[in-house]
Subunit: 363 residues, 2 copies
Amino acid sequence: MDKNKNLNMCVMAGGSGERFWPFSRSSRPKQLLNIVGEESLIAQAVNRCATFTPHNRIYIVTTKKQAEDTQKVLPELPAENIIAEPYGRNTAPCIGLISALLAVENPDEILGVIPADHWIPDVDIYARIMLDAAKVAGEHHALVTIGIQPRGPETGYGYILAGEKLESPHKTVFSKVEKFIEKPEKERAEELIATGNAFWNAGMFVFRVGDMLEAFRKFMPEFYENLKKIKDAGENPESIINEIYDSAPSISIDYAIMEKADNVIVAHGEFNWDDVGSWSSVASHWQKDEFGNSAKGDYVTVDSSNCVIGNEGDGIVGVIGMDNVIVVKTDDAVLVCPKNRAQDVKKLVQKLRSNENTKKYVE
Amino acid sequence: MDKNKNLNMCVMAGGSGERFWPFSRSSRPKQLLNIVGEESLIAQAVNRCATFTPHNRIYIVTTKKQAEDTQKVLPELPAENIIAEPYGRNTAPCIGLISALLAVENPDEILGVIPADHWIPDVDIYARIMLDAAKVAGEHHALVTIGIQPRGPETGYGYILAGEKLESPHKTVFSKVEKFIEKPEKERAEELIATGNAFWNAGMFVFRVGDMLEAFRKFMPEFYENLKKIKDAGENPESIINEIYDSAPSISIDYAIMEKADNVIVAHGEFNWDDVGSWSSVASHWQKDEFGNSAKGDYVTVDSSNCVIGNEGDGIVGVIGMDNVIVVKTDDAVLVCPKNRAQDVKKLVQKLRSNENTKKYVE
C-alpha cells in the first residue's frame, strides 16, 4: 500500500492501568503490555499505522510518567513525536493539543487519532478505511468517526446511529451521523442493532486539524483561547503545554465536540475490533484448552472450566474445581476474581492504592 | 514438671508434603513448615516432648531425603537421635525399627511414638497423659493408645471404642480397647459419639519396647525376624536398616498390630488436638478478619468471605467476590481451590509430578 504522506496519526496513550492489575500498574498500563498478541498493544497500534503512513508522521500523546517507557517500546519513532501531557485530562484536551501543534505548520494537515490499547487484526481493511476517511475529511471539512459494525448488543460501548449515506467514490461507506448514544441498556442495544444503522463508538477520529480547532473554538472557547498560545511556543512547547493543561477540563472529545458538531460523518468500519476492556475479555484472545480455560503462561487444572489464567513469569498456577474464574499471577501479586466481577478489579486497585503498605503493588 | 528419665519419645516424620502444596514440597513436607504456630510443626512436637523428657531421649524417624533439613530445625537434638529410613514404609516398620534399636540396650525402656505434624496447644495436659500412659504401659505390659475426646462426628478420622475402665491411681482415665473403627460414615460417627465411649485415633502410642517387639513376633513374624538383626548392628546400623526395609511391608501400626493385639489400652486424651490435615483445616488456626477470611501473610479482599488465604513471601494476594475458596501463593506457585475440594490438592500434585516440565514444582 502506498504511504499517504498527508495523513498524520496520533496514538492516545494515557491509560491508568487499573483493570489489568496485577499485570498492569500505573507505571506499566495496559497499552505497554503484550496482553493480547506478541507485542505491546501500543507497538501494535503504531505498526498498524506504519502500514499506511511513515513513522515520522506518527505521534504519541502520553503522560510524563509513561513517556520514557513508551519511547522504549517504539524505537522507530522520532523522540520528538512523543508528546507528554503533564497529567491525563481525557481525550478532548489531548486532541486539541495535537491538533494545535500540527496546525502551527499547516491547518490543512489531516490527522487520525486512535486509542493505544485496542485489538484490530484486520490491518488491510483498517488501513483502507483510515485512508478513505482522510480523503472524506478533507473533501467535506468533516469530523470523521470510525464506527465499528456491532457483533452483538454489547452494553459496554457507546453507539453511533448513522443517517443518510454519503455519495462517495471510495470503497468505504460513509454516512452522516444522526446521533451519538451513550452505553445503552441491553434492550436498547438490541433495538439499535435491529435498525441496521448502528455502530460501536471506538474512539477513533479523522479530521483536518483546522476543522477540529474550529470546533474547539465553537464548543470549548476558553480552552481554544489557551490552545492558540501553542503558536508562540516555538521549539520547546513544554511550559506552554503545562499552562494549557492547568486549566484544561477533563472531558472526552465525544461529550465536548462530537455530540455537538453538525459536520460529523461515520465511516462504516467493517473490521474486527475489541477494546480489550478487562480480564474477562482476554478469554477470546488467549489459547483455549479442551475445558474452555483461556491461558497465557504455565498452569495446571483439575476439574476446572472456562477460567482465564494469566501467569506472567516462570512459576505455575494450579486451579482445582473452579468455573468462570480469573486467576492471574505475577512475581509479586495474585488476583482471584469471578469473570463477571472483572470490572471490580478497579475497586481492588483503589483499595491497594489507599493503603501505605500496599500502594507499592499498583505503582 | 519433673522430667521422667525413663520415657523415650519418638517423633515419626515421614510425610510426603502433598496436601499443603504449594507451601509443602516433597523436600519440605508439612512437618517442616510453620503452617500453624510460629515454629515448624516438628519443632513444636519436640518442644512438647521436652517438657517431660530430656532431649537425648527424643528420637526422630524420618526419610533420608528429609534428614538434613529435619536436623536443621532441631538443633537441640543429638545428631544420632535422628534416624533415617531408606524410604517411607508407613508406621509399622518405623515403630518396629525404633523399638528394636532401643531394646538392644534394654527391653524395659518405655517409648512413646507420635506423629510430627499435629497441633496440640494444651501442653500440660498432654505431658501428664503421656507420663501416666508410660506408667500404665509399664505396669500392665500394655500397648497404650492416646484417644482424643471427639469434638464432633468427623468422618476423616478413625475411631477407638473404649470398653471397661481400668482401676488406676493416675489422674488420666484409661480403658481397655473394645475395637478400632476405620473412618466411618457420618451417621456411624454420630452413633459412636452418642455412646460416650468413642475416641479419635490420633496415631499416638506408648508401650514397653519389649512388649511391642513381642507383638511384632506374633503379628508380623517375618518382619520380626529381620528386626532381630538390629542387635548385631553395633555402632553403625545403616546397612542393616537398609536390609530390613528392603523387604518391609508398607503397613500402618493400626492394621498390623493394634487391631489384633489383646493388650491395648486407650488413654482418655482430653486435650485439644488437630491433625492439620488440609488447607481447609488451617482456617481455625489462622487469624480471621471480619468477613471470616483466615489468612497468613498480606492480602486484600473485595466482597469475599470465609476464604483461606496463604501468602508465603513478600507479595500480595487480591481476592474479589469469592466465598469459601482457598488461595495460596508462594514465590513460584499459586493454588486456587474451593475449601470443600481441599483433599484434591493431592490430585493436582500428582498431575504436576507426572509431567517433566512441572515436576520441579513439587520436589
